[in-house]
């Protein structure tokens, strides 16, 4: 299994660290050089962590664990109006990003209120394209209990963030609710930490399930190949987003055939993945289990 960590440091021996990651069969997922500062997201086999830590120490940089790396998470709010955006919606999304997740934000079309709150089939499909979802609702216990039924319809792991502390619903984190200012106090940061921990548990459960029935190949490997075959345009970031069991690939309309025919080992991408157009952005690649496709090499 791969471990994903963030390296921050100077440019001293920076390329040597990159080489070392490639040597042990790892990947550089993201790289940002800002004058003399560098930041990299590295993925490498778990058992080789010592080698990377030693090299990072040698370069004088720091390594930070990213427990949510490789997961795409949707932050869902009842509406994009001033009642729910920008706080606490953006605070939660920012916190998840700090832990390595790629986040999307979504306001429901008819998510406000108690009796009148609902989710459309298309919204449900968009949420289900991600690995997990965080529903950010308001303060009132009565509303939260009714609205939790909306979330039950969604077929991905989810967390509900609300205000009232005495709410008896599954996957619930209280003490957040409606905010009019940035969550920067200690007790608010603690709540965000708790929310991230709960999401982490759900993601880890899914990772464990995938370990029992491994995928044909790692999304990291497909991402590496896709970045070579269909390189991102200048200035474009995150053209390929990793998910737990696949990828979201943002390509131009005409490139769909090219995508299907990309060679992964001895197989074509369309042989080992279910490829479908996303309801939201790009194409969703769901990698099939190795038990179905056989070995790619």
């Amino acid at each position: 299994m791969y471990k994903i960590m963030m390296f921050t440091g100077g440019v001293y021996k920076f390329s040597e660290l990159k080489e070392r990651v490639h040597d042990i069969g790892g990947f550089v997922l993201q790289e940002m050089v800002m004058q003399t500062e560098t930041m990299m997201h590295l993925a490498f086999p778990e058992e080789e962590e010592r080698i990377i830590r030693d090299k990072a120490k040698e370069t004088g940089g720091k390594l930070k664990e990213l427990p949510l790396a490789g997961a795409e998470i949707m932050v869902v709010v009842p509406s994009l109006g001033k009642h729910h955006a920008v706080d606490p919606m953006c605070d939660i999304a920012e916190f998840l990003r700090r832990k390595g997740a790629i986040t999307n934000m979504m306001g429901l079309a008819r998510g406000v209120g108690k009796r009148i709150a609902q989710i459309t089939a298309r919204e449900k499909e968009i949420i289900e394209e991600c690995d997990a979802a965080v529903f950010v609702f308001g303060d009132f216990k009565e509303c939260l209990e009714v609205k939790s039924k909306i979330c039950e319809a969604v077929d991905v792991p989810y967390i509900i963030a609300g205000g009232d502390l005495e709410v008896d619903i599954e996957h619930y984190v209280g003490n957040i609710g409606r905010k009019t200012a940035r969550m920067r106090h200690k007790e608010e940061i603690d709540m965000l930490e708790l929310l991230t921990e709960k999401i982490e548990l759900l993601i880890n459960d899914r990772r464990r399930e995938l370990d029992e029935d491994p995928l044909a190949t790692s999304p990291l490997f497909i991402k590496e190949i896709l970045d070579l075959v269909l390189p991102p345009k200048a200035g474009e970031e995150f053209s390929t987003i990793m998910q737990l069991e696949g990828l979201r690939v943002k390509i131009e309309a005409g490139d769909e055939e090219k995508l299907k025919n990309v060679a992964i080992g001895k197989r074509k991408l369309s042989d080992i993945c279910e490829i479908k157009k996303s309801e939201y952005d790009g194409y969703i690649l769901k990698i099939l289990p190795e038990a179905v496709t056989g070995s790619v090499f």
Partner: protein, 185 residues
Amino acid sequence: MEVKVEGGGEFCDASYEKICMSTLRDISLDSNIDSVYMNCNAAEHVFIISVKIGRVQSPITVGDMTIKGDERLTVTTETHAPKLLDLLWDRYGEKVEQISRLEIALKIDDDEMQKLMSHVVYDPRVDLNTRIMDGIDRILPEGARVRHPIRSTGRITIIASENPIKEEWKEKAKAMLSKMTKGDS
């Protein structure tokens, strides 16, 4: 500004008190409002909010926000500068030129300039109700879109719900209001 929220439980009351305070402060209404009372009944999804209007700033004249010079005005309070320019362009057209951020050249005679200094640029009383209604809209839960106002002097009271508002709630709100008005006087 005094804020009191009841009926939502300990957490929600405290949270809505914060929401009221910061929302009204954000839209610069905290100095124009004496008190806010809010009653939350999430079980029936009925919210009553009553805002007592306090002292309002007196009208701002050209003389209040500028210093008169030789065929020019120097803006001292920039907040209402766009409104001042609007007024000047409207009255004097091409005779007005904005030289820099705070300097306005004005080719008019001294008498006219003297008259201009007492001209009202902005009267906060004109759009006070609209601004309070905007504040109330930001405070009330988004789903509570059915609104019913209750008339009274010096107060704006709104009942809000996602359901049609029953007579029972109107009566309840009126009772609350009369209790508060007695307290006011």
